[in-house]
Symmetry: C2
Subunit: 240 residues, 2 copies
DNA sequence: AGCCAGTTGAGTCAATTGACTGATGTGTGG
DNA sequence: CCACACATCAGTCAATTGACTCAACTGGCT
């Protein structure tokens, strides 16, 4: 987490850099980011220099940044394509799809050897690493445009709670992907058959969050809020 | 993460143990679990023995377990009380409140010096630590009863996707609490005024997830799913 | 008072880690 | 063909860490 030793992108052959990124990403996902030392990365990558990772990327934070950037770049391409296929009257589900499917599609194309979701989930919850993933994500123009379009669906417009809602939704996407990724890696059963099914389920959940009735923030009584009641057969009814 | 050096609970005066737990919890939240060594914990707690934490709790995993157990016990008491106040016809919002409010109430009572939400968020996303928090959480009888009651609201009954949905919702609670906790600690503005407001917003989101229309899992076309459409004024309409 | 199990203080130790150094390898442009 | 810049290798170094030892202390009990 010290200096910036990152080499300019075009320098030298990129294969070793990619190999380091692949190896680090895998070890980070499997054993944890902070439980993985530069040495182990170098050994697992079959490199003699015990600190190749440091040589190419600098600190561990910079390594996480590079891993994040690589994934984000891929996802950005995909999202730009999705957005291009949407006209102005795109529905909420389509817009949420622009949030979700670039991720799930990427993981699907990576097959059983995807790791980034778990890495991202860790980084997002680490005090030292979260600023990095947040910053890297903020560079995405397509993401910004998607959220602007989604803003039309949010009752309160662009207030502070919208910012939090956005954080919640992004967190949800990462968590669900990480969960499936982990299950696939360990051979555990998955709740849905395919990544596409998972994306649909995720969009359902996000749809629910977006359209949930907003409680007025007045200091109302804690219990018994004006939601639906249980009916005899156990079904529920959405008010209004 | 090696042997189990944990002492029987009743032995000796408990003040040092509590002091270690408090200190470790704070450092874990502020600097990250894996960035915090036993030595730093001992120093910050003003203890001469550089490995008091190891002496009292064993490995770092065991320390996280003890921190989790302490919080969970407190929350359990609170949830039992909430459940006792509910009759058989409790609505969805009330049941979700039994999930959310024990946490938010606890954080409110801790004031600006709460740390567990951030610790829990980290642990849940760490490969080495997640089994621990999951296991500790599984001991809660009141939580189990709440989920059984919530099961009546889930369309599919108790299938595998329900398990995931549950994971999503619990993850959401932890994340939102961690977000507010972090904001309070750093003096950043919070999206909601009080922990109670935060709980209401959280229940809104969970309500949305629970009642979101479930997409059939058939291999339908990826885009254009049967959700609401945009109207001229930008509002949205929930189908049916 | 005197014992004693458990706790705390103070320090050691091997292992690991990130950062560093210098020699050697390599491939690309001139 | 040959510099030259970059990449890789092999090894060193101080700092940190978890685990450990042993002495000193504490409070409860007889």
């Amino acid at each position: 987490m010290t200096g910036d030793r990152t080499r300019p992108a075009g320098a030298g052959k990129a294969s070793t850099r990619e190999l380091i990124l692949d190896t680090a990403e895998r070890l980070f996902a499997e054993q944890g980011i902070f439980a993985t030392s530069n040495r182990r990365i170098a050994e697992a990558a079959g490199q003699g220099n015990s600190s190749v990772a440091g040589y190419h990327f600098g600190s561990k934070a910079d390594l996480v940044r590079a891993i994040t950037r690589r994934f984000t770049a891929e996802v950005e391409r995909s999202r730009v394509g999705l957005l291009a296929g949407l006209d102005g009257s795109a529905g909420l589900a389509e817009l949420l799809g622009c949030l979700v499917r670039p991720w799930t599609d990427r993981f699907e194309s990576l097959g059983p050897h995807s790791y980034f979701a778990r890495v991202c989930a860790q980084a997002m919850n680490s005090p030292a690493l979260r600023p990095i993933v947040v910053e890297e994500g903020s560079h995405s123009g397509s993401l910004k445009r998607t959220w602007e379009a989604l803003g039309r669906y949010l009752p309160g417009g662009a207030d502070l709670s919208t910012e939090i809602r956005r954080g919640v939704m992004q967190h949800l996407i990462v968590f669900v992907c990480a969960e499936r990724e982990s299950a696939l890696a360990e051979g555990r059963p998955t709740s849905r058959q395919t990544w596409t099914d998972e994306a649909n389920g995720l969009i359902d959940a996000l749809y629910g969050i977006m359209t949930a009735p907003l409680a007025d923030l007045s200091p109302s009584p804690v219990r018994s809020r004006p939601y639906g009641r249980v009916t005899e057969d156990g079904a529920h009814a959405i008010p209004e």
